[in-house]
Amino acid sequence: MAEERRQKQCSVVMPTESMKAMAESVGVGQLQEDSCVALSEEVSYRIKEIVQDALKFMHHGKRRKLTTNDIDHALKLKNVEPLYGFQSQEFIPFRFASGGGRELHFYEEKEVDLSDIINTPLPRVPLDVSLKAHWLSIDGVQPAIPENPPPAPKEQQKSEFTEPLKVVKPGQEEEGSIQAKGQGATSAEGLGRCPNRTEKGSIRIKPRSTHELSVEQQLYYKEITEACVGSCEAKRAEALQSIATDPGLYQMLPRFSTFISEGVRVNVVQNNLALLIYLMRMVKALMDNPTLYLEKYLHELIPAVVTCIVSKQLCLRPDVDNHWALRDFAARLMAQSCKTFSTTNNNIQSRITKTFTKSLLDEKTQWTTRYGCIAGLAELGPDVIKTLIIARLSVEGARIKAVMEGPVVSNIDKIGAEHVQSLLLKHCASVIAKTRPLPDVVDQYRTDYGYLGPMLCSHVVKARAQAALQAQQVNRTTLTITQPRPTLTVSQSTLGVSSGPRTPSIIKVPSSLALMSTRPGTPTQPSPPTTKYIVMATSAGAASTQQVITLSSAQSGSPVTSTVPSTPSTLQPLVKLESSSTAGMSRPLQKYIVVSLPSSSSVDSKGSGVLPASTSPISVEQSVKLERSESPAASTQSPH
C-alpha cells in the first residue's frame, strides 16, 4: 500500500488550471497550454523541494507540525525572499469561489482601517516561558501525580475488563467484573459456570488478587467522600475537581461507585435532596475524568442516576423543594452516559429509553416520575423527542388539562402538572420549530397537539424568531449568548445536611455553577488564555442547537454554557478559528473555534447543556491540529 502511495506521489503536480488562474491574477491573459504544463511541473517540483527543506527545520525545531516559519526559513535557505506578513486571523485563510465552471480558492486580503487597529484594546500579554520541575520517576517507579500520565491508561483498564485472562499483572488488578469474580471460586464451580473457558482440560483462572488501597489512598478516599457530601461548598468543589482530574484514581473507582449507589439508595428513602444532588455531582465528576474506564461500574451508577430521575419522591416537601432541577441534571447525566458508553452490546440507550417510555405510558404514573421520564427522554435528542414525546403531546395535554382545569385535587399534583407542561413546551417547541413547516396557525396546532397546542404555537414562533436572530449572528461571527439553559446551583450556606430547617429555595435555577467543573490548570499549562468553543451541531432536518462554551482557565471563572437554537439552513459545515494576534508577539490570545459536529441521528444536537464529552473533543482536536504553531493550543482546556 505504501508503495502505491509513493508511486502516486511521483506524479502529483499542480493542476494547469491553477497556473492559468495565477497568470490571470497577475495580468497575463492567455497562457499557452504548453507553458501551463511546463510551469506547473516546475512549480510543483520547487514546492516539493521547499517543503522538504522546511521539514528539516521542523525536525530541528523538535516539533511535529510544520509551521509557516519553517517555510520561510526554507525559502531563505534557497535565497528566496520569504513571504513577509503571512499572518491570518483565521485558521484556514482561503476562501472558495466558483462560477463559470471554475473553482477557485483565494486568499482574502481585506483592507484594514488603521483606526480600528488603534482603537482596539491591547490583547493580553502572552504568558512568559517558565520552568517547572516534577518527578518523572523515583527510584525507577513513576509516581501517580497529575504531572505524569495516568499509571494505568484507559486502554489497559479496558483490556483488563474485556479480556480479564489476557493481562495478569499482580497488584494492578481490579475485581470489577462479575465474570472474574465467578472464576475466583473453586475450579469445580468454574467448570460448571463457564464450560466454554476450559481449554485442553485446564482452566485458566484469573488469580484472585487482594485489592488493597495504600494508607494514602484510604485517607484520600475518606477525605474526598467526606468533602463531597459535607457542608463546605469550597471543599466540595475541590474534591469534585480532584475526582474529575486526578489520573491515579482507578484503583478507588469501585469504592466510589459503591459509595454512590449505596448513597442514592439510602438517601432516596430518606428523601434527602441535597445529598442526592451531591452524589450526582460526583457521578458527573467521575464521568469527566478522562483517565477512568467507567464501563465496569455502570451497573451501579446507572440505576443510581435513573433513580434520581424518576423516583416518586426525592425530597421531604415536594411542593416547595426544587427537585425538578435534580431530575433535569440527572437526566442530562444519563444522556451523556448513553452517548459515551452505549454500544451494540450493552444497548444502554435503548434499554433506558424503554424504561422511560414504559412508565410514561403507564396511566398511574405520578407527575414527578412522569416529569423525570420526559426529561430523560428529551435529553436523548430531537429524534427521540419527535418519535416518543411529540406523538404523545395530545394525551399528556389532556392529562394536564384535567389537573389544571379540573377540581383541585392537591397542590402537589398541580405543581407537577405545571412543570411537566413547561418541560414539554420547552423541549417540543424547538423540535417542532425545526420540523414543522410554516405558517404557525394556532388552530392547526390545537388540532394536532390538543390542549397544549396554542401554547406550543407561541413557543414555536418564539423559537423561530430566535433562530433567525441567531443565524444572523452566526454570519457575523459575533456571539450573544441568549436563553441560558437552566443550570444547577446549590446554595450551600443555607443547607443543613440531613435535617433541620431548610429554606424552600435550595436550588436556584439560573446563575452559573460549575456543572462542568473547570479543569484545573494542568501543571504544564498554568493558565492559557480564554478559549471559546462554539459547537454547531447539525442534524438533518432536526432542530439544532448551538452551544457556546467559554472555558477559562482561572479557577474562579466558571464556564458559561448556553444553548442557542438555530436553523439548519444557516449552518454551514465550516470550521474556522479566529485568533487575534498582535504583530509583535503573534500569539493569539483568544480564539473562537467554530466546529460543526457531524450530524448524528439521535443524540447529538440537543444533548446536555454541557459540551458532550464524547464527541466534542474529537472535533476540537481535529481543528486544533492544524493550527499554527505559535498559537497557544489552549485546547487542553477542553473537556476530555
Partner: protein, 737 residues
Amino acid sequence: MAAVQDGQVESDAEKETKPDASNDVAGNSSGGARSMSPNAASSASGAAKAAAPTGPGEQQTLLAVLQFLKRSKLLESVDILRREAGLSDELDESQTNDGAAAGSASLLRRVSVGGAAATNIAATTTSKGAEDQPDVSIVLSAYSQQGDPALYQVYYSGLKNFIESVLDCHRAELSQLFYPLFVHMYLELVYNNHEHEAKVFFEKFSGDQECYYRDDLRVLSGLTKKEHMKGNETLLDFRTSKFVLRISRDSYQLLKRHLQERQNNQIWLIIQEHLYIDIFDGMPRSKSQIDSMSGSLAGEARREANKAKVYYGLLKEPEIEVPLDDEDDEAENEEGKPKKKKPKKDNLGSKNKKQDPNAPQQNRIPLPELKDSDKLDKIMSMKEATKKIRLGPDTLPSICFYTFLNAYQGLTSVDVTDDSSLIAGGFADSTVRVWSVTPKKLRKVKSAADLNLIDKEADDVLERIMDEKTASESKILYGHSGPVYGISFSPDRNYLLSSSEDGTVRLWSLQTFTCLVGYKGHNYPVWDTQFSPYGYYFVSGGHDRIARLWATDHYQPLRMFAGHLADITCTHFHPNSNYVATGSADRTVRLWDVLNGNCVRIFSGHKGPIHSLAFSPNGKYVASGATDGRVLLWDIGHGLMIGELKGHTDTVYALKFSRDGEILASGSMDGTVRLWDALKAFDVETDDFTAATGHIHLPDNSQELLLGTYMTKSTPVIHLHFTRRNLLLAAGGYNSQ
C-alpha cells in the same frame, strides 16, 4: 590492456568498461588510482581513432578530453592529441580556464580527507568540472546518453530476475545493488530528458527498494527534469560520491559472469562509474547483517575507512592537591577523597596511575591550563562523586523532569551545566534563556564605573563585583536573528554557546549576560554546537555539511571537517577532547581527529537523520539516535556496530550515559524517557574475525536491555543530563493539545 574486442565502437565511454573490467579481475580493491590511467589512455585513443572532428559536438568532446588529460598531467598525450586533431591552443585554453576554476571550487567544497583522497579528488574534479559546464558535461557527465531508454527497464528487470534466481546466500548480498542501480538508472533517464521513461521506470521499480530509502525516493520522485538536477543536493551527492557496497568475492564473480554473458553493458557501466564494490573473501553476509549496516546515503563505510587508530582512552586527570584519605573510603567524609576518583571513570577498573594504552598523548592537542577556579570545581565534583549512587538494573535512577511551560512549541534546544546548577533553553523566537535551578540567583557583574569603586584587595572581591540589583532566576539573551538550534555551556559555567538559523554561533558571557563573539563561517543554519569537555574549543555543524572546530579566541575556525553528504545535525566531543563525532542527515556518524582533521571513523547503519550522540564516559563507545527511533551503539576502537536498541517510536533527540556508564538514557519525540542496560549492551565479545571483516551479528535483545520506560504527558524529551550524583534530569517543552 585495452584489448578492444568490438570492432564497432559506439562511444568512447563504452570502451572504458573493458579495461576497467580486466583491471577488476586483477583486484578491484585497489580503487580508482590504477584504473585511472588506462581509462584515460583508452578514452584518449578512442577519441583519436574517431578523429577527424567534423561537428561541433565532437570538437567539444575532444576539448573535454584534452582538458581531462591536462588535469591528469598527461602533457605528452595532450600534445599528440592536439596535433592529431588540429586544434588551436586558444580554443581549448579558454575552456580549460573555466574548467579549472570550477574544478578548484569543487575541490574546496568537498575535499575528501578519507584514505583514498587523491583518487577521489581526481574523480570529483572531473565530474564536478563537467557539471558546471553544460556543454562539456554532455560528454564527460556521468549520465551521458547510453543505449536505448526503453531498454532500461529490460536491463533492470533482467538483473532483478537474475538476482532473485541465485542461491540464497548470494541473493542478499547482490540485492544491495538494487537501490544504487535504480537511482543511477533513473537519474540517467532524467538527465537525458526521457521524462516519460523515467517516470515509468520509477513507478515500476521504486516499490522494490528497501523501506529505509523512502525519504530519498521521495526526493527522487519529485525530480523529473534535467533542470531540476542542478542544485539538488541529494543528487549531487549521488553523483559525486561512489555508493559503497560490501560484497563477498563469490557473489561478485557471479554477478560479473552474469553481466558479461548478457552483454549487459549498461549496468556494468553504472557499477564501474558510480559504485565502489568492496570485495572481501569469505562467507557472504546474511540479509540481517547487511540490513543492519546499510541505510546510509552513500552505502556502507569502506573497510579501510575505519582502520585508522583511534586513541579513545581518557586523558590522565591533572594532579590536584586534594587532602587524601583512605583509598576506598565509601563513607561520607568531609575531606575524604578516594584519590582521583573522577566521575567519568571507566568501568574496567583501571585506576589512572598508569597511562591508558589507548589514551592519546596528554599534549596531543593543546588544552587550556587549569585555573584555580577549575581546580576548585574539580574538587567539588569529586566530592559529589563520592555521594554518587551506583546505578544498575536493580537501582534505577530517579528522573526529575524540567518542563518548559508556555513555550508555544518554541523550545528548540536545552543544555544543563555539568554541576546541574544552570539550565539554558534556545527558542524559536531567537532568544536564549538561562535559568538557575538552585536557590542561587543569576547576577550580572557591575558596570565598569562601579567596579572601579570596589576594594580589589578584599577577600570576597568575587562576591563584591556582582550587582545584587540584577539578581533574578532567569536571564534572557538577545542577539540571534533566527531560531536557536544548538546550545552548550562551557565546562567552567562562564560561557554559553548558541548556534542559530542565522548562520552564526554566539558566545555569551554568563558573568555579564552579554554576547561576546559572533562566530561567522557557516552561511547556513547551524544545527548544533558543543564545547569541548576541557573548554576553549568548540565544534559546530550545520546545513553546509561542514563541521568546524573553533577556539573561543579565534574568529576563524581551526579545522573544517568536510565529508558528510548532507546536513550535519549533531556534533559531540569525545571525552578526551581529541575527537569530534558528527551525526548527519546522510545517516552516518563520523568521527574526526581534531589534531589533523582526518575522518577516522564512518559508522553507517542508521535509517534516518541522526539527531543525538553520546559518548560513554570511558570513551570507548558512542551511541547515536536517529529519526527512525533506534539507538545504535558503536565500538570506537574496532569501528563496529555493537548494539541496536529498539523501542522508541519517534525521533530520539536526547541520549546520555550515566556517570559510570552503566545506564544509557534516551529521550524521544514520542514523549518517553527510556533507560537501557548499557553494561549488558556492551558486553559482547568482539573476536578477531569480526573485527577484521566488520561482519557483525547483532543480538535482538532490545527488550532485555530496556530497564524502564517513563511516559510524559505530551512533552517531547529533548535533553537528558545525569547529575554528578547520578540523578537523571530530563527537559522538554510542554506541547499543549
